[in-house]
Structure formats: C-alpha cells, structure tokens
Symmetry: C2
Subunit: 311 residues, 2 copies
C-alpha cells in the first residue's frame, strides 16, 4: 500500500477512531497519526496503548499540519468542534466525519469551513456494541460499506483520495445524497436501535416478570436485541435528536405495520401472519448472500468456543 | 452417563428433535431413538443421515413401547397429534413436548392423556434461525434453560427423570407455572420476534429505500433483527395464535413505551433519551454475566473466520 495521507488527525478516540488508527497503521496507509480526545482519561489510555503517534491536549493542536482531519465525536458536538478547529486547519486539507447522521452534521460543520479546505462528510456502516479507545480493531471495516456524501461542487480528487483511504481499510465505498443517507440509515440502523432499546426497557419495567427471569431466559430471542441496546448512549441520543424527521417517519410506518400484525393476532388470522413471516426470510438470505452477515446459526455464537454463551 | 430412558420417540423431526437426537446419542442418555415426521421427505432425510435408530411412517407406530414420547411439532397441531397417539402410548410412559407456549398445549393435549401416562409439558429455551432435520446439533442445549411446567399432581419421580434427561443434554432445568411461563416467554421471546418481523417488513415495503440498500447497509443494526425474523413461519404463526393474551399484553406495553420515546424525540428531550439508553445497558451486562450470551463484540461475528460477514 502506498501512503495516502502524510498526517491524519483523529478527533475523538472511541470505537471508530481507534479502529481507524489500527487499520491505517496495519495497512500502511498514512504517515503520522495524531489524536485528540476531550477526556484526559481517554488521552491517557490512547498514549498508554500507543494508539496514535502523538496525542494532543487540544483539537486545535491536533489538526495543525494534518492533510486529513476526521471528526469522530457524537453528532451533537460536531458544530462546536468545527468552529474550534477551523482557524487551525491547513490549506488544502480534507475534513471528514464519521457521524451516523449527515444532514445535521453538514448543517453544523459546513458554515465553519474555510475556503481551501475540502469538507467531505462520511459514515462507515460498521461498529460493535463496545465503545472507547480500547474497543477498536483493525478489521472493523473489512467488507463493510463506507458512505460518502460529498456536497455540491466537492473536489473530485479530494473525494477519490478519501475513498482510497476507506478502501485501504477494507471498506466498500458508495456515494449518496445527504437526505437519502439519513432516510436509509433511519431504516437500517436508527429505528432498529430505538425498538431494541424500547423492548429492553419494557422487559426491565415488568413487575410480574423479574429481571433475573428476563436474563436467564433471554436466549429465546430477547438477547439479540440487547446487543444493539447496549450501544453508546450519548452517540444514540444525538442520532435521534438530529435525524428526527426520518426517524419519526419510519417509526410511524413501524407502528402502522405492528398494528396490522397485532390485529391479525387478535383476530386469529393465521394466514396473514404466515404470509408475513415467510416474506421476511428472503431479506435475511439477501444479507447473507451480500456478505453482510454470517450464515452460521446464531451468528456463529454456537461455534465460538464450544457451547454457545460459554465464551 | 447412565441410560435414562430405554426408548424415546421423537414426533416431529425439526431443529429441536434433531438436536435432541444428536445430544441423547452423544451423551449416551437413551437406549433407542425412534422418530416420526409427517413429511415423507423429512423421514427420508432422517433415515439418510441416521438421525434415529428407526423412523416410523406413523406417529402411532413410533410411540409404541416408548417410555418417553416428545412432541416436537408446531403448537397448533399438538392436540390432534395427542389424540392420534393416545391409544398407543405405553402404560407408565412419560409424554412431554417442546412447544414455546404452554397454556394452549396443556389445554389441547391433557384431555387426551390416558391414566397411567405422565404428561409433563416442557420448553427448551434454545434454538437457531435454521429449521429441519439437518439443522440439529448436539450442543444446542448446553448452558441453556429447559423449563418444565408440571401440572397439579404430577408424578415427582417422572418429573425428576425427565429433568435428568434435560440436564444430561447440558441444560439447566427450572420448573414454573404454565401461565407464568407464557408471560415470561411473551417478554423474552414472542414479542421480540414480532417486532423483529415487523421491522424487517417495514424495510421491505419502503419504496424510497430499495431492498438492495437495506441489504447492503444492514450492518448498522438491522441485520441483527433479520436473524430472528428468519425463523420458521409455521412455528411462529402458532405461537402468536396460541399465546395471544400475553403477547397482546406485552405489545401494549411496548407501544406505550415506544410512544414515550417517540415523543422525547419529537420534543428534543435528550436527557430522557440518554437516561433510557443508559439503563438498558445493564440488562445486557446481566445476560453476559449469566452466561446467556457472549461478551465478544458483535456476538463474536468479528472473530469468526477473520473479517466479519466473511464466513
């Protein structure tokens, strides 16, 4: 691999940034990796584990001289961060972000961008339920999609260079319009997280079913929802606050659809239930064929270390 | 291990029965395994792969002389099956089932039981999204819970013997009341499945987001729901039709709770969202500590065969 950027500044050192650091280093994609996190504890961990070549106490220091700056912070603080670093960005630098919402990030960040800096919003569709500087690993982006949503008049060469970095980390890259991104993600990520959080909350509130029962008998399906409902609370709060319209749109459809099935249950309409449950199998097959999930039973849990749940 | 039953008849040869066959044989728990499935194709596969010692063309033939009969068929056909086999059950035999709903099974099966036959309803909280006679494996029940719901006046020795079989296959056994079982399972299994089916259905119906986009970008959370939404449609139709009251109860609570979060999104109440998302993390930790799921990121998908999604 050839070096794509001489110096990359990662602002925010959580799961995505730490995975990028591991991947960029392992695949030799960049010269120097500079990092900054708001929390002194996170900066100390990053130093201790050698995540970056340098860790700076401020974002302004970290971005100086970087030819790529990556904002890896919750969507709600992107605007303030952009205002803070804007005067320190190198002419000709590219700035991208990894936020799960693009419309709100563009609105918050773009006005601060000096001329001569290329702002190319991005979003890797990858993650785990873990967070923090220790949670990253080099293969997180392997075979995952990294969406770029370049704005009108974006520099073609700068976009191609950023794409090369993402591909170098093992990702596939697609470009799409900002609003379409936010709708697609409301369907494939934001609403699924909200209903998972809700179902876990319902289980927790039941007085007639104890939490220990919920936990013991979770292998019946519930435990699958608890994984995404264990994701970072700040990140997800910001996602819902900033992608409000698309999420409310999909939630409305979800509730409509749920009521149709609820009515079928109440009326004892077995045919309707059976037809519905048969159609949804095809989507799972598509996901496996597209290499976006494993075909192994139970996500392969059963084969990890022998008996499932034992690892 | 000592032999617990001399002859076990498995009626229905899907995921649970085939896993029982593998486990009982591997751990030397029974003398002879006799099987029957309604479909000639399933019987042929069972013969071809040597799943049972004998495969019978009728359920009546299969149960003759068995000291344990296990009904492994969808909940909706348990009653007719019980009526069919009742005259052929051996005196002193135990009959159990593995249905995900207990109230409806008891109502359908108990009236047909001859005196001298012990009917002890059961339910292993274990499974995968796969079905059919080839989908079973011996470790399915390892470290999982197997619930028994003995009826009033159940024979203590017969219950202990059935418990020993379940434990011999690696399961933990709990006994509980029929109605409580159905409520607990509505929370930990039935409602989670219904909302997963619903979310997958919503994604499939969206015209502005194509199915190929839903599939490509599913790693943002959606793919987790598609696994349980790929479960056997007949089994799940019957679960919802026969555990109607408990499922409608939990669905009502779910919708209530979802509306609270939906309103918080609409009103921009970040504090409420953050507090909710923080509480739900604790349940996930409890499930991992109880050995009911893996702590590995992404269910260990990331570590199965290298890059996630590649296996």
């Amino acid at each position: 691999m050839t070096v794509i950027y001489d110096r990359v500044a990662l602002i925010g050192l959580g799961l995505i940034a730490s995975s990028m650091a591991h991947a960029m280093r392992q695949y030799g994609l960049v010269g120097e990796i500079v990092g900054h996190a708001k929390s002194a504890e996170t900066r100390k961990i990053a130093l201790d584990i050698g995540l970056c070549d340098r860790v700076c106490d401020t974002a302004a220091l970290a971005v100086q001289g970087a030819d790529l700056v990556v904002l890896c912070v919750p969507v709600g603080v992107m605007g303030d961060l952009a205002a803070e670093i804007a005067p320190h960005l190198a002419p000709g630098a590219t700035l991208t972000d990894v936020g799960s919402v693009k419309g709100a990030v563009v609105e918050a960040v773009a006005p601060h961008m000096p001329s001569g800096v290329q702002f190319i919003p991005g979003h890797p569709i990858a993650g785990t339920e873990h967070s923090g500087p220790r949670s990253g690993f080099a293969t997180l982006f392997q075979n995952r999609w990294w969406l770029l949503t370049p704005l009108d008049g974006a520099d073609v060469a700068a976009t191609a260079r950023l794409r090369a970095l993402c591909e170098g980390m093992g990702a596939h890259v697609d470009e799409m319009d900002v609003a379409h991104h936010d709708l697609v993600l409301a369907v494939t990520s934001h609403t699924p997280h909200l209903i998972a959080y809700t179902m876990v909350g319902v289980a927790e509130h039941m007085r007639r079913v104890s939490n220990s029962e919920v936990i013991k008998y979770s292998a019946g399906g519930f435990r699958d929802l608890t994984r995404i409902a264990a994701s970072d609370p700040v990140m997800w709060r910001d996602v819902f606050l900033t992608n409000k319209d698309a999420v409310l749109d999909i939630l409305g459809r979800f509730t409509e659809e749920l009521f149709v099935l609820q009515r079928a249950i109440r009326m004892g309409d077995g045919e309707q239930l059976h037809a519905y449950f048969t159609r949804t199998r095809a989507i799972r097959r598509g996901i496996i064929e597209a290499g976006q999930d494993t075909a192994a039973p139970d996500f392969g849990r059963a084969t990890v270390g022998g008996g499932e749940g034992k690892t």
